[in-house]
């Protein structure tokens, strides 16, 4: 090849790469549309694999629920549907903010995009905060998977084991780091770093907000149970001797006795059923070889769902960095769109988990 030909080749090449291929278009794609289509199809396929991944557990759920429905009904009572409902709401709201973020990316509303991604991140953190309270509370009660399940005795004393504290360690460290980063961004007056650090710091705060919210609701539930318990004890026709169970802990009936009147009639009945079931011999499900299986499924499903939430938070953080650099525009918003799809799926799976686990009684 002669020098002239080579130069021609070079200029052609230069044109090829610099004219048709802006930085956001990978070199092996012909145009923005092809890149977008490839990304979108890839994400949909990935979502298919995610659905199949969860389908194994949904299969196990339906098999065992079909075989031992009484185990599922019994155990589901230990799940706090208020916390579940709040988390459902939080996730639904985060889907809204995520969808809004996609629109903002398309319309080049960079500030709004960072805000919406931040809101989504915050909701995710809040979800995990509430989840942390739920998990730690169950661990304290001995509601553990499989062979670790502890048979439940009504009104038994449960000490604080500090599980919640341990669960909060990593989020606390991350929040502190985000705080330091935010201060650094203020000190250097860097708009970019402020846009990144702000949402992350808010998300950290949201986690602890979630924890606080969860604790309030969980405490209410406990109080409420204990109170009903007291009412139940004094009700005519039931003569179980529970007094030895009330020796210590948060379940002291005397303390909460005054609140009984405030509670509805229905919930008192609920607790009656529960206390009876726990005491009657045919409540044979209250043992590790029965109830343990429900909690195995509960922890596997919600645990792996939580891992997906954490994964989602990581990619949303990556999007925030890109959004703070104002990289997205009407030709290039694939990443936001695709992470949005993923986020909706994670939300969607929770929409199934919530009724299947919390609302079966």
């Amino acid at each position: 090849m002669t020098a002239i030909q080579e130069t021609a080749h070079e200029s052609e090449h230069a044109q090829d790469h610099h004219h048709d291929h802006p930085a956001w278009l990978a070199h092996h794609f012909d145009d923005a549309e092809q890149q977008f289509d490839a990304g979108k199809l890839g994400m949909w396929l990935f979502l298919v694999t995610e659905v199949l991944f969860f389908s194994g557990m949904f299969c196990a759920y339906s098999l065992y629920r079909n075989r031992d429905p009484e185990v599922f009904e019994f155990c589901s009572r230990f799940l706090n549907e208020k916390l579940g409902a709040i988390n459902t709401g939080v996730l639904l709201f985060s889907s809204l903010t995520m969808a809004w973020a996609v629109r903002a990316a398309q319309l080049k509303q960079h500030k709004l995009l960072v805000g919406m991604l931040g809101a989504t991140l915050g909701c995710a953190a809040m979800f995990l905060g509430v989840k942390a309270v739920e998990y730690s509370h169950k661990w304290e009660l001995g509601l553990l998977p499989g062979k670790f399940y502890v048979s439940q005795i009504p009104g038994a004393a449960h000490g604080e084991h500090g599980y919640l504290g341990s669960l909060c360690i990593v989020p606390l460290i991350l929040t502190i780091i985000a705080g330091v980063y935010y201060i650094y961004s203020l000190a250097t007056m860097s708009k970019f770093h402020q846009k990144v650090a702000g949402p992350i710091l808010v998300a950290g705060a949201c986690f602890f907000g979630g924890v606080q919210l969860g604790r309030i609701l969980e405490a209410e539930e406990t109080t409420h149970h204990a109170a009903e318990h007291a009412a139940h004890e004094h009700a005519p026709g039931t003569s179980h001797d529970h007094s030895q169970d009330h020796s210590a802990g948060e379940l002291l009936p005397e303390k909460e006795g005054g609140e009984v009147i405030a509670l509805g009639h229905k919930s008192i009945e609920d607790v009656k059923v529960m206390a009876e079931e726990l005491k009657t011999p045919d409540a044979s499900v209250n043992q590790k070889s029965m109830a343990g299986l429900f909690f195995s499924i509960y922890y596997c499903m919600t645990g792996i769902h939580a891992v997906h939430i954490i994964g989602g938070m990581l990619v949303i953080t990556w999007l925030i960095v890109k959004a703070a650099r104002e990289e997205f525009h009407d030709q290039y918003f694939g990443p936001v769109d695709n992470v949005g799809l993923y986020w909706h799926l994670v939300d969607f799976i929770w929409i199934y988990l919530f009724p299947l686990l919390y609302l079966i009684t």
Partner: protein, 558 residues
């Protein structure tokens, strides 16, 4: 100006063949240029080295098994070690070799070139898949070195829950989990690439059949592997936390594990064989210099196998305890899979009819494939029949059957494909005579190893036993002699390929006379494959492709 802009093809000195001065192998150099490469060709070659090493390891375990079985008792391994050896043989061969062999190694190299694109849709994900594969390999080696896994490659509960080798089970199941994701991402990448990046003129029915087979394989990889992922994850949780889902003591159900496991692992059988069938479709057509017979039927049958493959997992469990009706349904569905497989075999034979057969190394391997795969497929039918399976389940008949399909099928096709595309990958021609000798030894050795095992199985020799009755000793010895012959054949094949790297003559662009796109770009291909997407026509139109003695290969005469 980057190095990529140098002339792609220039006349080489001496033999007058076209040999590129600049290609993907010397595009950049240094360790990191390979370790961090996003080039599908380099990733394919790294996979190739990886899967071949795994194959060597698994093959060594196979020889250990065969040597142990030389005498009917007091073999040279302890019973405990024997268990570990057959487990690792199975696990390494299945998860580290066969599943990634054709799609990840050859597929990665060929798919974008056959499609006329610069790369797969997600090059970073592709590299990520490779490193996931490496991680899986490391975890397997960990399982091997800590205590040795002894559950069988299937990890059946309750063995896997109760075995003392807990750490090994955890490492291996996590390895399987990671390898599963490697496989999923490869499949996802291929589906997206084929769907969105075909060049102008390449409609679905103008794709090379290798791509159809890869596409069908990818569908299975994407749809089946996640279920294996969750299964092994639950198994790890079972070991770590005693969650009891598969443990009858905690009200779990071990048969559920088998259902979950085979829901993946049966379709996985088609992950192993479908790409091999794709290779054979290419080899048959190119080396017979004749358009493929029944193109559409071969393409459809690949998809049909992929779909039917999802419905037959129960035939691994006829003796595990299922309702009678369920077993009958699974048995009936199993027979349906034989239809698309048979369609392919008839079409390959139809392609050879009145073709101009070049009897060279790839073609010999392809012929061996058809012979061995047919035996493997036909012996599957008695296993799918309920009454016979009761007798043959877990005997050497099953062992021989799946080795005829997996090894006689996939491995032989893989070798055929490797010899076929070797000039394209490395730019070097191998020694044809020794290549053909290797194919012959492999074919003879293979049959000598596994034909006696059919007889052993029907006479009641159970699989996985470390000792056996004296009456089986002669057949076992025949099988062991066969396995050593097979080993020698494979060694010859390896030496032929290695020899070609150093002493082989330079490969022409189109040494065999193929009409698909990979034979249009130079051997080895340039870094970016094609400067612009080529326009393509029928991949099996051999009109005008003629041998040119000056180039030592075929050229398109218009």
């Amino acid at each position: 100006m980057s190095v990529a802009d140098r002339p792609i093809v220039s006349p080489a000195s001496g033999d007058g063949s076209t040999y590129p001065e600049h290609h993907f192998l010397n595009h950049t150099s240094g360790f990191l240029s390979w370790a961090l490469t996003l080039d599908h060709k380099r990733i394919g070659l790294m996979y190739l080295v990886g899967v071949m090493s795994s194959f060597a390891l698994g093959g060594m375990f196979a020889l250990m098994i065969r040597l142990h079985l030389w005498n009917f008792k007091d073999g040279w391994l302890s019973n405990q070690t024997y268990n570990q050896v057959f487990t690792l043989h199975g696990a390494i061969m299945v998860f580290l070799f066969i599943i990634p062999s054709v799609p990840a190694a050859l597929g990665n190299f060929l798919l974008p070139i056959m499609l006329g694109t610069k790369d797969v849709a997600f090059p970073r994900l592709n590299l990520g898949s490779f490193y996931l594969w490496v991680t899986g390999l490391v975890l397997f080696l960990t399982a091997l070195s800590i205590t040795g896994l002894d559950t069988g490659w299937t990890f059946y509960t309750p063995y896997s829950i109760e075995t003392q080798k807990g750490g090994a089970v955890l490492a291996a199941t996590f390895g399987v989990f990671v390898l599963g994701f490697s496989s999923i991402f490869t499949g996802l990448n291929f589906i997206v690439t084929i769907n969105t990046m075909r060049p102008p003129g390449m409609t679905w029915f103008r794709m090379p059949l290798f791509l159809w087979a890869t596409y069908a394989t990818s569908i299975i990889q994407v749809l089946a592997t996640p279920v294996l992922g969750i299964t092994v994850l639950l198994l790890s949780a079972e070991r770590l936390l005693g969650i009891g889902i598969f443990d009858p003591k905690l009200n779990g159900d071990p048969v559920t594990f088998q259902h979950f496991f085979w829901f993946y692992s049966h379709p996985a059988v088609y992950i192993m064989i479908l790409p091999a069938m794709g290779i054979i479709s290419e080899l048959m057509s190119v080396h017979c210099h004749k358009g493929i017979f029944g193109y559409r039927m071969i393409a459809y049958s690949s998809i049909a196998i992929a779909l039917f493959g999802f419905l037959v997992w129960g035939h691994h469990m006829f003796t595990s305890g299922m309702a009678d009706v369920t077993t009958i349904v699974f048995s009936a569905l199993t027979f349906t899979v034989s239809i698309p497989s048979a369609i392919k075999v008839f079409n390959w034979l139809g392609t050879m009819y009145q073709g101009t057969v070049s009897l060279n190394t790839p073609m010999l391997y392809a012929l061996a494939f058809i012979f061995l795969f047919t035996i493997g497929g036909l012996t599957g039918l008695p296993l799918g029949a309920l009454a016979l399976d009761m007798h043959l389940h877990d005997t050497y008949f099953v062992v021989a059957h799946f080795h005829y399909v997996m090894m006689g099928g996939t491995l032989v096709a893989f070798l055929g494909g490797l010899f076929h595309w070797w000039p394209k990958m490395t730019g070097k021609m191998f020694n044809e005579t020794f290549g053909m000798i290797s194919a012959t030894i492999v074919f003879v050795g293979f049959n000598l190893t596994f034909l006696p095992q059919f007889v052993l199985g029907t006479r009641g020799m159970p699989r996985r036993y470390a000792t056996y009755l004296e009456e089986f000793q002669d057949l076992h010895r025949l099988s062991t002699i066969g396995s050593l012959t097979l080993g020698i054949g494979l060694l010859v094949a390896l030496l032929v390929l290695l020899h070609s790297l150093f002493y082989g003559r330079r490969a022409p662009t189109n040494p065999w006379g193929g009409a698909t796109l990979e034979w249009v770009c130079s051997s080895p291909p340039p870094h970016d494959n094609f400067a612009t997407a080529p326009t393509v026509g029928d991949p099996y139109d051999f009109n005008g492709i003629e041998y040119d003695a000056k180039q030592g290969g075929y050229v398109k005469k218009s």
